[in-house]
Amino acid sequence: MEAKSKLNATLAAERIQVVPRPQVAHVEWEACRDELGASAIAVRLVLVGAEPADAELIGGARTIWEALVEGVLEQAEAPFPYVRLQWRSADRHEGGGR
């Protein structure tokens, strides 16, 4: 549970909020194992942004990814977060990835 609260705190951090596009719309996570059997976190982030993918959108997503991974790994015992990004157009109300 601590890992989850840290994850949410990381997502809420100002450094992510300053990214203009995309925005985090939804996050889910579950504990899992990596290929070597070590504890890991499978994270699903749903981002809202325009289509098609452009440099700004991908750059923003990279910033979010990096802040999330770094934030989680600052905890000494935190498992590695394997992030899956799904995208939603700004004009869509529901749905995750395609």
Binding site: D34, E35, L36, A38, L47, G49, E51, P52, A53, L57, I58, G59, A61, R62, W65, E66, V69, E70, L73, E74, A76, F80, Y82, V83, R84, L85, Q86, W87, G97, R98
Partner: protein, 175 residues
């Protein structure tokens, strides 16, 4: 440095082509192959760079570098990247370096390898896995940034230790 004749550069070009070849409705198979190819681009880049870090880049050692490159195993590289993804190194690695701190650039390389490896396994083995073009483009961008990060960090003592860890895996941290 990364001319078109180098394997990792060819693979990155191929991954980009696969990600964009169907502009309107990308085939899932194209996106899967793009993800897998992006991973292998970073894999071959890191193996090449680690070998050059350990053995130098002289022409006389070319055959030795080829031999050494065959000794890198993905699972050992995953184990090494787990160690180097954290802000601080474990004691057995930190002591000979006289520092436990890891440059962010190096950690970024480790994060990216772990992430790409994870998605490569999904792409190649999980029939239920789905990828969107934006996610695939992001993975490409991560690989490119990781290569730039390595070039900034490779001269540091921790960079050489990382090169060694990629070859040794968990054994690098054996006390």
């Amino acid at each position: 440095m990364s001319g078109p004749s180098l394997l990792h550069a060819q693979l990155l070009d191929q991954a980009r082509h696969l990600a964009r070849k169907e502009p309107r409705r990308p085939l899932p198979s194209s996106l899967r192959r793009s993800v897998s190819t992006t991973y292998f681009a970073l894999h071959h880049f890191l193996v090449r760079e680690a070998v050059r870090s350990l053995l130098g880049s002289s022409k006389e050692r070319a055959a030795l570098r080829e031999l050494c490159a065959r000794g890198f195993e993905p699972r050992a590289m995953v184990a090494a990247c787990r160690r180097f993804a954290r802000p601080r190194l474990p004691a057995p690695v930190a002591q000979p370096l006289a520092t436990a701190a890891l440059p962010r650039e190096l950690r970024r390389v480790a994060w990216t390898y772990l992430t790409l490896r994870h998605h490569r396994l999904r792409a190649d083995y999980d029939p239920a896995a789905e990828f969107g073009r934006e996610e695939v483009e992001l993975l490409l961008a991560l690989a490119e940034e990781a290569m730039r990060s390595w070039r900034r960090a490779r001269a540091a003592p921790q960079g050489r230790a990382f090169a060694l860890a990629l070859l040794l895996g968990e054994r690098i941290a054996a006390g």
